[in-house]
Every structure is written in C-alpha cells, then in structure tokens.
Symmetry: C2
Subunit: 124 residues, 2 copies
DNA sequence: CGGTATCCTGTGGGATACTG
DNA sequence: CAGTATCCCACAGGATACCG
C-alpha cells in the first residue's frame, strides 16, 4: 500500500488499517460503556440507559444494534405483558473486557503521572 | 470526544465514567494508529503521515499534540539543516500497546466468527 | 417498557494554502 | 521537513415526539 519513508529507524510497523477496523468494534462514544455495563450479566434497555451517564435512547439503540450485528452482544426479547428486552455479551464480546480494563489501567496511571510530575503539562 | 453531562438525570455510576475518561486517551479516529505506528520505535512526522492511511497533516498534528499533552508520547525536535522531529512513546504510552493488541485480537475473532456463522447478519 | 423518526447542533476531520 | 490557518462538510449524538 503506502510507501514508507523509513530510513534506518526500526523494524516494519504493522498495518494500522487493521487496527482501525478492530477499533471500530468499540467505536462510537458509548460502545465501551455499553460493553462495560454488561460485564456483570444481562441488562435491560432502560437499565443500560440509567447505568450509562446521559445516553439518549436513540444512540443507545444504535450502539446496541451495531454491537449485536458485530456479534459482541445478543438480544433476548420477552413478549411479556410489560415488554422487556435483555442484552447480554457474547463470549467473544466478553473478551473485550480485559482489553477495556487494560486501557482503564493505563488511563489511571497517566492521570496519576500528570498529577505527580510538575513538568510541562500543556493544556489544550 | 466531548462528554457533556447536560442534565442531571439520576445516579451516575462510577465505572462507565471512568472508562469513558480513559478511553478518551485513545479517542480521535487516528490516535490508536499513531500509538501503533510508534510501537517499533521513534518516527518522524512525515513517516507517520505515510504510515497511517490518508491522515491529514492537520489531524496528525492535532493528535500528536494531544497525545503529548496526555503523556503518551514525547516529541524530540532536532534543529538540523533539514528540520526533523521524532515522536516516541513514553513507557506509559507503551503500556497501551497490549490493550490495543487485545482489541485487535478480539476484532479478528469477531470477523472470523461472522464469516463462519451461517446466521450471518448484514453489516450496516 | 422499548424502541423509532425527525430535527438540529458540535466537532472531528479533509483539502488547500501558507509559514518557519 | 514540519507544521499552522482557514474553510467546509459529514456525521455522531442530543432533544423531542411518537409508536407497538
């Protein structure tokens, strides 16, 4: 694909395109939150809405559809008198949890580091 | 991406918010690619531009600034005759690599699963 | 309860041109 | 080479209203 301008500075980097595709699984501002909220077990639509900060019904619905299509979660509909729907992570979807956790861990350390080091911290 | 808590609509669970904050470290469409491209060692501005699909100079510049401010990478400027700048992951930034890798692994499996599963859904 | 449809806005990001 | 400035647009996402 793209020609690299490398000279003598390190081995061949992997294809970023692939990363982008995979990152797309958790794209959308709330997708990680949805996955995270489902880590303890199945939850219903409105439970997710109240779990997750102020996510709009439209967006939650959209994320759930996408994640379902991607095989990250499954949807169980119960046609009871009050309609209820449960969403649950698939085994594959659950595998994302360690990854998210890893990101959280690093995020924490980055925040701590910034608090501890009085060096140049350029604010945006 | 901006997280606006516009209205107070109820209890805010701690976990998802934290997740969102930490996810913000790798927010922006190209941030993960930048981190990934630097995983093998320091690289220069235009090397990154050609490494990463078609990222515009403006956006690459913006991501690099953000990631630098967040402590994920450092910038080394060399005032040589042809100016050159190198970007390199900090140790903390490097800790994001396993997380990204984990996401990539799951992303792969999800793609395989969709190819193999007979009940293959239509992607968007 | 569990959504969908419509409208609207903010902002991430591309293209281009320009600077040091 | 390594950016910055400007303009512009697409689209994610919020609010509201409405349906099954």
């Amino acid at each position: 694909m793209v020609l690299k301008l490398r000279k003598n500075r390190g081995p061949e980097p992997p294809q970023p395109c692939m990363l982008t595709e995979c990152m797309a699984v958790i794209s959308g501002a709330w997708a990680p939150n949805v996955i995270w909220s489902l880590r303890a077990g199945p939850r219903r639509f409105n439970e997710l809405r109240t779990d997750i900060p102020p996510i709009s019904a439209k967006v939650l619905s959209a994320r759930l559809s996408e994640l379902e299509a991607k095989g990250v979660l499954v949807r169980h509909v119960r046609r009871t008198s009050p309609p209820s729907t449960e969403y649950e992570l698939t085994p594959l979807g659950a595998e994302l949890l360690p990854a998210l956790d890893a990101i959280v861990q690093v995020g924490h350390r980055l925040k701590e580091r910034k608090l501890n080091s009085p060096e140049k911290q350029v604010a945006e």
